[in-house]
C-alpha cells in the first residue's frame, strides 16, 4: 500500500539530489526512474544476479536489495560515474579491448564489482578474480573474457601508478 513520502538527500556520482520517496522505493528504481540513470540494470530483484550492483561509499551494494531511504546521506557511484571527463575507466577500456561483454546487460554490475575487487587486491590471480566476481551472473560470455578483461585492467592500473 502507498506510504507517506520521506525526504532523502543522496549523492550520486558527485551530484547531490534531494527527493521525496516512498519508504518502500527500491534504490534501483530510485536511480533508474527518479534520477533517470538507466545504466544500473535490474536482473532479478532478489540479490543474486548482481546486475544492479552500485558502490555505496566505495563498497558494492545490491541496489535492488536496498530502499532509497537507506541510502539517505550516503554517496553512491553508478556506472555513469565510472568514466571521468569522457575518459573511460581502465576497466571499461579493458572490457572493450578484450571482448568482455556480449549483450552488455550484466556489464555495469561486473565493472563496479571489479572496481572494488581491484581496489582491495590490485594484483589478483585468475582464481581470485573468479571468486571476486562470483556475485555477478553473466549468461552470454561463459565469463572467460570478463576474467581476462579484469586481469588486463589490473595490469593497466599498475602501469599507470
Amino acid at each position: 500500500m502507498p506510504q507517506a513520502y520521506r525526504s532523502v538527500e543522496i549523492t550520486v556520482n558527485g551530484q547531490t539530489y534531494n527527493k521525496q520517496v516512498e519508504p518502500r522505493r527500491l534504490l534501483s528504481d530510485f536511480l533508474r526512474e527518479d534520477l533517470d540513470l538507466r545504466g544500473t540494470h535490474v536482473g532479478c530483484e532478489h540479490g543474486i544476479c548482481g546486475a544492479c550492483t552500485v558502490l555505496m561509499n566505495g563498497h558494492t551494494v545490491r541496489s535492488c536489495l536496498m530502499f532509497a531511504v537507506q541510502a539517505n546521506g550516503e554517496e553512491i557511484t553508478t556506472i555513469e560515474g565510472l568514466a571521468t571527463n569522457g575518459e573511460l575507466h581502465p576497466l571499461q577500456e579493458a572490457f572493450w579491448e578484450n571482448h568482455g561483454l556480449q549483450c552488455g546487460f550484466c556489464t555495469p554490475g561486473f565493472l563496479l564489482s571489479a572496481c572494488e575487487l581491484l581496489e582491495r587486491n590490485p594484483d589478483p590471480t585468475e582464481e581470485e578474480v573468479r571468486v571476486g566476481l562470483s556475485g555477478n551472473m553473466c549468461r552470454c560470455t561463459g565469463y572467460q573474457h570478463i576474467v581476462e578483461s579484469v586481469l588486463a585492467a589490473a595490469e593497466k592500473m599498475k602501469a599507470r601508478k
Binding site: R25, R130, R139
Partner: protein
C-alpha cells in the same frame, strides 16, 4: 471465478483486463499442428500452468499495479494434474484440453531407410531410456513490452525485445485479428541476451496490446525474474527410448528412437519445432542410414516451451552420445575409436543424410584428430589410470555433433502428415532469407540497415568489417542501424536472429548489398572517368583504373556526384547511392512425401572432450579441463566466435550440472528464484582450450556458417560422458540430467548399498 472490483477501484488503477475478456477480444494463436485446442494470451476458464496470466492490472506505476493485483480475488477449483510427459500418454490420464480427447499435441512416426533389416543384421542391439531436463538459457534481461493501440487507425504499435523469427509477428496478428500491416513491431538495438527465449514473448505482446486497447493508452510491462522463470519459455524436458543396431566392429546400422517431448500446457508456435528442428541432422556426424523416430509432443501442466539455444539438438546428442559410449563399453572399444569408425568422411561432402539434411562441407575425422591431439588423449587415459589407482573418481567424456544453422522454414511442416501437406489448399513452406540495405551519403559514408535484431552477438562489428572490406573503406566510414521496425524496414518472414543464422544468412545479405552498391559506384565512376567498368577497382577510398592509376577519383566524389550533381548521371543511373539485397539459399525445399527435409542450410561441426573429477562425499562434479574443436567454416571475427563458444558451452554445462526448472508432482513450480534455479558463476565456469578447423561453406559468399549454438548442443553429453566414465567403476550408468550434487551423491550411495 474472480472478483476484480476492489482492484479497479484502487487509486491509480486505470484498467483491469481479465482472461475472460482476452477470450472475447482475441482469437486463439494459430499453430502448425492438426490438434485443435485453444491457446490465448491469458487463461480463459481454466488455468493450465503455474504462472499463466489470469488478469492484467494497468496502473500509474508498477508499485500501485502490484498493490492492486493483491486485491483481485481468484477462486480456483483444483483439478488433477499431469506433470510428467509419460503420464500424459497414459490411457486414463486427466485431459488438459478436453476437446482433444488426449494430451497429444503432435505425433509423427517417421521412418528412413530399412530399419527392420538393420536390426536383423545387427550383432548387437542395445536399448536405453534417457531423461533430459527442462532448462533455459535464460537471458539476464527479462521480457519488456510497450504496447500502444491507436483507436483511430486501428494500429497496434509494440516496442519490445522480441528477437524474431518474424513469422511469430504473423501469429500475433492472427491472435489480435488484425492484418499484419496494422501490427507494428519496433525492436530497439541491443537486446539484453535472448538465446531463443525472447522469440516466445509474443503472447505477452498480444496481452499487452489488448490491455492497451482496453485502457485507451500505451501500456508498459517489464517482466520480473519470478515471472520469467515460471512463465516465459524454456526448452522441453523429454523422455526418450533409444535402440541401436550395431555390428561387432562398432558400425552403427540403425537407430530406433521413441521420444516424448513435454511442450507444457499449450503447444505454442513455433513448437513442435523442438522435435523437428534437428531432423536433417538427426544422425549427427555418423554414417548410419536407417532411422526411425516415433515422436510425441505432449501437453502437461507446465509452462509452454519454445526455442532455446541448441533447440532440439542437445537432447538428441545426449541420447546419441550416451549410446555411442554404451556401444564402446559393450564392444570393449575406446569411445574415440567407435566414433571414428562411424564418422562421415570429408570425401563424402556434400553429404545427404537419410533424413534429408544436406551437409554442405566438413572434415569430421580431422576435427576428431585435432581434439585427440589437443587434449593429449592418451596421456589423459594414463592420468585416469593413476587417479583410479588412488581411488579417485576421474572421468573423460567425449561428445560430438553437427551444428545446424539457418533453419529452413519448411522443416516445421514435418509436424503435419504428408497427406495434409499434399492437399490442394495447403501452402507449402520452404526457405530462409535475410535482408540488408545499404546507402552511401554524399560524403562517401555508409549506413547499413539490418533486420537481424541482435542480442549481444556483435552484428554491428561484423557487418562493419564486411562492408568496409567490400567497399575498400575503413570501419569509421560505416554506421550500422540494427534498430528494427516492421513498418519501415525491409524484412522477410524468416528475419530475426535465431538458429545461428546471422553468420550465414545475415552476413551474406550484407555482402550482397555491399557488392551491389560497389557495382553502382563503379558503374557511375566508369561514366565519369570514361574508363570501362571492368578496368576499375575500388581501394583505399578511391576508384581508379587498374592499368592507369592516374585515372582516378575518390569514392566521396562519386557519391557527391550521385547526390548533388544529377547533370552528370547517365540515363540508367538513379540519383543517390543505395542498394538492397535479399539472400536466400537455393537448397531450401519443402519436405518430400517421405518426410525428408534439409532442415537447415549450413552445417558446422564440434567435438568436446571434458575431464572431470567427482567428489564421492558431496556428489559435486568438478570440471578439471575442457577441449573443444569447432568447424564453423570461414570465421569472420575470431574473438566473437570464441565468445559464442564459451557462452554456449556454459549453457550446456549449466544444464548438465545445475539448472533445472523443477515442478513437484502436483505441478507446483519449485524454482522461482535464482536461489532455486542455480546458474553457474565465474567460479564454476571452466577455461576451455578451443581449436578450429575450417571447411568453408560452398553456399555462402564468405564461406561462413553459424557458430552461436554449437557447444550448447554437445556440452551436456560431454559432461554426462565424463561423469559416467568417472563413476563407471562403481557400475553407475548416467542416462539422466542434471548431475547436481544430490543426484550424483544418491547414485554413488545407491551403488554402494546394492
Amino acid at each position: 471465478s474472480y472478483d476484480t472490483r476492489e482492484a479497479e477501484n484502487h487509486p491509480g488503477v486505470i484498467a483491469v483486463l481479465t482472461g475472460e475478456e482476452v477470450g472475447q477480444m482475441s482469437k486463439p494463436f494459430p499453430v502448425g499442428v492438426t490438434a485443435a485446442f485453444k491457446y490465448y494470451s491469458a487463461a480463459v476458464g481454466k488455468v493450465r500452468y503455474v504462472g499463466e496470466p489470469v488478469a492484467v492490472v494497468v496502473a500509474s506505476d508498477r508499485y500501485v499495479a502490484e498493490d492492486a493485483m493483491e486485491l483481485i480475488q481468484v477462486e480456483y477449483e483444483a483439478l488433477p494434474p499431469i506433470v510428467h510427459c509419460e503420464a500424459a500418454l497414459e490411457a486414463d490420464a486427466p485431459l488438459l484440453h478436453e476437446e482433444l480427447g488426449d494430451n497429444i499435441g503432435c505425433h509423427r512416426l517417421l521412418t528412413y531407410g530399412d530399419v527392420d533389416q538393420a536390426f536383423e543384421e545387427a550383432d548387437l542391439v542395445l536399448k536405453d531410456r534417457f531423461v533430459f531436463p527442462r532448462y533455459s538459457s535464460l537471458p539476464l534481461e527479462t521480457y519488456a513490452v510497450i504496447a500502444d493501440f491507436d483507436s483511430i487507425t486501428g494500429m497496434f504499435t509494440v516496442r519490445s525485445n522480441f528477437m524474431g523469427p518474424f513469422s511469430m509477428h504473423a501469429v500475433a496478428a492472427r491472435a489480435l485479428d488484425v492484418d499484419e500491416n496494422k501490427l507494428r513491431f519496433i525492436v530497439p538495438s541491443d537486446i539484453g541476451g535472448s538465446f531463443g527465449i525472447k522469440s516466445s514473448i509474443y503472447p505477452y505482446i498480444v496481452l499487452l496490446s489488448l490491455a492497451s486497447r482496453k485502457a485507451g493508452r500505451p501500456v508498459k510491462w517489464i517482466e520480473d525474474r519470478q515471472e520469467h522463470l515460471m512463465a516465459s519459455s524454456c526448452q522441453t524436458d523429454r523422455v526418450a527410448y533409444r535402440e541401436v543396431a550395431v555390428k561387432n566392429d562398432g558400425t552403427l546400422l540403425g537407430i530406433k528412437s521413441k521420444v516424448i517431448e513435454n511442450v507444457g500446457a499449450y503447444l505454442r508456435a513455433p513448437e513442435p519445432a523442438c522435435t523437428f528442428r534437428p531432423i536433417g541432422n538427426f544422425v549427427g556426424p555418423y554414417k548410419v542410414r536407417n532411422v526411425q523416430l516415433d515422436a510425441y509432443d505432449v501437453m502437461t501442466n507446465k509452462c509452454p516451451t519454445g526455442p532455446n539455444r541448441g533447440y532440439g539438438c542437445q537432447q538428441i546428442y545426449f541420447e546419441q552420445e550416451r549410446m555411442m559410449d554404451r556401444i564402446a563399453e559393450e564392444l570393449k572399444m575406446d569411445p574415440i575409436e567407435v566414433r571414428m569408425k562411424n564418422l562421415i568422411q570429408a570425401e563424402d561432402m556434400p553429404y545427404t543424410t537419410p533424413t534429408g539434411g544436406i551437409y554442405d562441407s566438413g572434415d569430421y575425422p580431422k576435427g576428431m584428430d585435432l581434439v585427440v591431439e589437443m587434449s593429449q588423449y592418451t596421456k589423459l587415459r594414463e592420468q585416469q589410470k593413476k587417479a583410479r589407482a588412488e581411488g579417485r573418481l576421474f572421468g573423460i567424456g567425449i561428445a560430438t555433433g553437427v551444428d545446424p544453422s539457418v533453419s529452413n522454414m519448411g522443416y516445421i511442416t514435418i509436424a503435419l502428415p504428408p497427406e495434409v501437406r499434399a492437399q490442394p489448399g495447403y501452402l507449402p513452406k520452404s526457405g530462409s532469407a535475410e535482408w540488408a540495405t545499404i546507402s552511401m551519403n554524399q560524403r562517401g559514408k555508409v549506413s547499413v540497415t539490418m533486420a537481424t535484431t541482435p542480442q549481444g552477438q556483435g552484428h554491428e562489428t561484423v557487418v562493419t568489417q564486411i562492408v568496409a572490406d567490400e567497399l575498400g573503406l575503413t570501419p569509421d566510414d560505416i554506421a550500422i542501424v540494427d534498430e528494427f521496425d516492421t513498418s519501415k524496414h525491409g524484412w522477410t518472414i524468416s528475419s530475426g536472429t535465431y538458429a545461428s543464422r546471422f553468420a550465414s544468412v545475415g552476413t551474406s545479405a550484407a555482402v550482397l548489398a555491399a557488392r551491389k552498391l560497389k557495382g553502382k559506384i563503379i558503374h557511375l565512376a566508369a561514366a565519369l572517368l570514361s574508363v570501362p567498368e571492368e578496368d576499375l577497382i575500388i581501394q583505399g577510398g578511391k576508384v581508379f583504373a587498374k592499368d592507369d592509376p592516374e585515372k582516378s577519383m575518390t569514392v566521396k566524389r562519386v557519391a557527391g556526384t550521385a547526390h548533388w550533381n544529377h547533370e552528370l548521371l547517365p540515363d540508367d543511373v538513379e540519383a543517390g547511392l543505395q542498394a538492397r539485397a535479399v539472400f536466400r539459399f537455393p537448397s531450401n525445399v519443402a519436405p518430400d512425401p517421405q518426410d525428408r527435409v534439409n532442415s537447415s542450410n549450413t552445417y558446422g561441426f564440434m567435438v568436446e572432450i571434458a575431464v572431470v573429477e567427482v567428489d564421492p562425499d558431496s556428489g559435486q562434479v568438478k570440471i578439471l579441463d575442457w577441449f573443444s574443436v569447432h568447424d564453423a567454416g570461414t570465421i569472420i571475427n575470431p574473438k566473437i566466435v570464441e565468445g559464442q563458444i564459451y557462452g554456449g558451452a556454459l549453457h550446456g554445462i549449466g544444464g548438465a550440472l545445475f539448472e533445472e526448472l523443477a515442478y513437484d508432482d502436483d505441478g507446483q513450480f519449485l524454482t522461482g528464484s535464482f536461489m532455486h534455479y542455480v546458474c553457474p558463476t565465474a567460479v564454476e565456469a571452466p577455461k576451455l582450450t578451443i581449436g578450429h578447423i575450417c571447411s568453408p561453406s560452398p553456399l555462402t559468399p564468405l564461406g561462413s556458417k553459424g557458430a552461436g549454438e554449437s557447444s550448447s548442443e554437445t556440452a551436456p553429453a560431454a559432461v554426462a560422458g565424463a561423469v559416467a566414465d568417472a563413476l563407471g567403476p562403481l557400475g553407475i550408468r548416467i542416462n539422466e540430467l542434471p548431475l547436481n550434487p544430490k543426484r550424483v551423491w544418491t547414485l554413488i550411495h545407491e551403488s554402494k548399498t546394492t
